[in-house]
Structure formats: C-alpha cells, structure tokens
Amino acid sequence: MQRVAAIALNTFREAVRDRVLYNLIVFALLLIGTAILFGEISIGIQTLILINLGLAAITFFGLAIAIFIGIGLVYKELDKRTLYALLSKPVRRYEFILGKFGGLALTLLINTAFMTAGFFLALYYVKRSFDAGDPPILVAIYFIFLQLLLATALALLFSCFSSPVLSAAFTLGLFLVGSFAADLKDLADALEAPWLEGVMRAIYYAVPNFSNFNVITAVAHGHSVPATLFWSNTAYAAVYITLVLLASMLIFQNRNLK
C-alpha cells in the first residue's frame, strides 16, 4: 500500500510540475470570467449562462487534463525506460497501475477543486447571494469528476499498449460516443430487425455512458438531483472504472518491457 501511495504521489508531483496543467487551469478560469461577460449581454439569464458555460468549461478542461496527462502515464515510462528502475524494485505491476491512476485522480481532484472555487466566486459575483439552487451544482460537479475519473481510466488503459496519439484519439472518441449514448439507445429502439437492434443495444451498454453524468442544464434551472441518481451514477462509475483498471493491470502484467 505504501508503494501505491508513493507512486501516486510521484505521479501527482509530475503532473503538478507539468506546465500544461497551469495553462489549462488559466484558460478555464478565463472562460468562466468570460461567461460573466456573456451574461451581461442577455438580461435575465446571466446565472443560467454562467452555470451552463462554467460547468461545461470544468468538464472540458478537466477532460483535457485527464487525456493529456493520462495518455502519457504508462507510455512515457515505457518509452523513456524509467520503468526499468521502478519495476526492478519490489513493486508489483498492478501496484504501478493503481498508483498511476491514483496520482492522476488526485491531480484532477485538486484541479477541479480550484476551478470550482473560481466558479463559485464568479457565481457569487453575478448573483450576490447563495440560494437553494446552489448545492445541486456541487452534485453536478461531483458527476463531472466521475466522468473525469472514467476518462482517466480509459486513457491509462490505452497508454498501456498504444502510442500517445492513438490513445488520445481512442479516449476522445469514446468520450464523444459516450456523450451521445442516449442517441445510440434511441437508434436501437428505432431499428426494425431484431438482430440489428440487439447489436446496437449491446454497443450501447458496452460504451462508457458519459451522458449519464450530465445534469448541467437541470441544475442550471435549480432542479435538485434525486438521491437514486446520485447513487446509481456512483455505482456505474465505480464498476466501469474497476473493469477498465483490471484490464489495464492484466495487459501491463503480461508485457515484456523492451
């Protein structure tokens, strides 16, 4: 366990010392600032725009971090052979994977926290008060964080056997498809031939369903998130991430390091 923690902290340290991280955070905060300006133009829906745009920004910049850093997690160590020194020590292969994931998860957590703080500052500036519509926003951000973890796990998986470019493409592709998952389901429902419908449905369930976690518009209107949704999404993320990590561990365990 100490080894996993050591690897996680080292990964975190690497992420923090990577300038990419700061650029992305700055951009995100700028975007949130711009959202305030947009709000000035359209009277009456300032808050609406701010919440929609702000949460979208947190999603996309978080995703950018997850992908940019995630695709290099294993690949860089393989390519640069830093793994030789690492795995010759009493470190299990699966501990390496868990440590890497943990490190990036920690990075994302801190980053999301920063952006959330910035966001709520902007929100207070626009609204001049806090009300009952605000706590659901935190739930929406929690859901975004779950998405980021899922994207990280996927990037890590691809990093175990693919070049950075391909890993980024695959992860981004899965994110896009997963965001349109609801349309996949509609497509399945609309299909006539039962075997075709079956195939489509199988694809729908297999693809990581990122759209589950998107409650941005709803919380922008002040709706609260039902508890069942909260737990279901947490369960979905937990199970899916576990499966992806197990796959990563298996692939990495059996790799010969060249």
Binding site: N52, D183, K185, D186, L187, A190, Y205, A206, N209, N212, N214, V215, I216, T217, A218, H221, H223, V225, P226, T228, L229, S232, N233, A235, Y236, V239, Y240, T242, L243, L246, L250, Q253, N254, N256
Partner: protein
C-alpha cells in the same frame, strides 16, 4: 507473466459479472433519467445559427442528428400526451443547419398543426417554418400546398388556403390539380370531399412513413364520418317510414335498406343507440383516438 490458461477463465468471469453489473446499473439510470431528464437538456443552444457556427462545417451531419431528435421528441410526447414544446425549436435548428432538408419543413407543417393531444396545435409556427422553407428553396412549389393545407386545417381559413394553392399553381412544373384545388377549396371549403382530396394528395406527395400514417388516419376518420352519415340517413329513413326507432341493424336488413350488418373500417359493427343515433363502437373509438384521431 501469468500464463493465458490461468487468467483467461478469471477474465471471462470478471467480464461477464462486470458487464452484467454495468447493464443493470445502466437500466436503472435510464429509468431514473427519463423521469429526471428535463428535456431542455437536449438544447444547449436554442439558436440554430450558433449551432451551425459551432458545427465546424459538419452541419449536414448535425442536421441529421437534430432531425432524429425532433422525431424522437415527437414520438415521446405522443406517448406521454405532452406539450410538444421542443418540436418547433428542434425543427427550426434542423432546417437552419440544413436548409434543404425538405422533409423537416413538411413534417413540421403536418404535425405542428395537429390539435392536442396529437400535436401542439400551433399552425402559426407551421406557417413560419414553411415560409422559411420557401425562402431557402424557392422552386419547391409543394410548400404552397402545405401552406394552403395549414390554413385549411389549422385556421379554417378557406380563402387564404385557396390563395396559397393558387400561388403554388403558378409555378413552372406545378401539378395541374393545384389550381383545381384552389377552386375547390374556395367554393366548397368545408366539405368532406375537399378534406379527403387534400389528405389524399398529401399522402401521395411524400414517402415519409410518419406523415403517410397520419394522412391515412385522417382519411380513415373521413371515411367513418361518411359511413356514419350514410347509415344515419338510412336510419332516419326507416324511422320516417315505420314511425319506429330500429333497435338492431337486423331491422334495417329485414326492411331491405341494408345488405347486412354494417361494419366499421376496423371490422366492428356500428352501434345503434336507443334513440336511433349511429355511433362508432367504443373499442374502435379508443383505437382511433389512441392513434391520434379524435372524433
């Protein structure tokens, strides 16, 4: 290295269990989301222009996506007896993204006009959409037909309807019946024959299954109206002659007024009320109203 034969059975087991768990949770989520999922979620942006700008040139593809959503929305609202609030915005975005998607305009024309619960009953939105279609596709004279139809059905303004048909008939390549229709509507706008002609024409003019189904349904309704009128005339005649109200169709059959027991297009016999009124069988009524036709 863990040899294949050792990890493969575990991997399969984990994949199956994990897959089952994922499917189970997802189904729960789907159920929860339909309840919670505020439909406005689908519209991040209500302006078609912005969507077009952001589509990075793939607006044709996005148009298809939005078209699909419009149809899905319509279907869901039908089942839930909803308000169809997003139908116009979705079709508006679709046609901004792809102005040549004729079907979107026509679909909007037909279903925006439909009275609740089959549709939102907003003929003015239908006109708006059609005028946009004409602007983007000036040679497509059929839109005048659709406009005329909306005036006819939605506003019951036979004058304007006739004018629209006439406008369309002036186009090169317009079908000759456009002018005939213009005259017919002006002269006898309220008749069932006109309605039948219009619906039949609509049916013939498109391949889209949803529009065709709607046209068929309306034609069915008109046929039922015709048959009831016909039967009612027979019953009234019977009463006039025998000074008695017939209790069953057999009475009319015995009197030679009918060749047999009359069945409605769904195959059920028409009902004869105690006071001689001809009615549609309740089962058939339920059937037709479920499909969107209300009497």
């Amino acid at each position: 290295m863990i040899p294949v034969r050792r990890w493969l059975p575990f991997a399969i087991l984990v994949a199956l269990l994990g897959g089952a768990a994922v499917v189970h949770i997802q189904r729960n989520l789907d159920a929860e989301m339909t309840v919670f999922h505020v439909e406005a979620q689908e519209l991040y942006l209500t302006s078609g222009d912005w969507v077009k700008r952001l589509s990075l040139g793939y607006h044709g593809l996005l148009a298809c996506l939005y078209w699909t959503r419009a149809v899905q929305h319509f279907g869901r609202q039908r089942l839930a007896h909803g308000e169809y609030r997003l139908l116009y915005p979705l079709l508006d975005i679709t046609t901004t993204l792809d102005p040549e998607l004729i079907l979107a305009y026509r679909f909007g024309a037909v279903f925006l006009t439909e009275e609740p619960p089959s549709g939102p009953g907003r003929p003015e939105l239908a006109i708006k959409l059609l005028e946009k279609g004409l602007q983007q596709n000036p040679a497509y004279w059929r839109f005048w037909y659709d406009i005329g139809f909306v005036y006819y059905r939605g506003f019951k303004d036979y004058q304007k309807a006739s004018e629209a048909f006439y406008q369309g008939s002036e186009y090169p390549g317009a079908a000759p019946w456009m002018r005939i229709m213009a005259a017919k509507v002006a002269a006898e706008g309220g008749t069932r024959q006109t309605a039948r002609a219009l619906w039949q024409e609509l049916y013939n003019s498109t391949d889209d299954p949803t529009i065709r189904a709607s046209a068929e349904l309306h034609l069915l309704g008109l046929r039922i109206d015709d048959e009831i009128e016909f039967l009612q005339a027979k019953v009234d005649h019977y009463i006039h002659v025998t000074r008695k109200v017939p209790s069953r169709w057999e009475d009319l059959f015995a009197a030679g007024l009918l060749p047999g027991r009359p069945l409605d297009p769904m195959g059920r016999p028409y009902r004869l009320k105690y006071d001689g009124t001809v009615l549609l069988d309740p089962q058939s009524r339920i059937f037709t109203s479920k499909l969107g036709w209300r009497e």
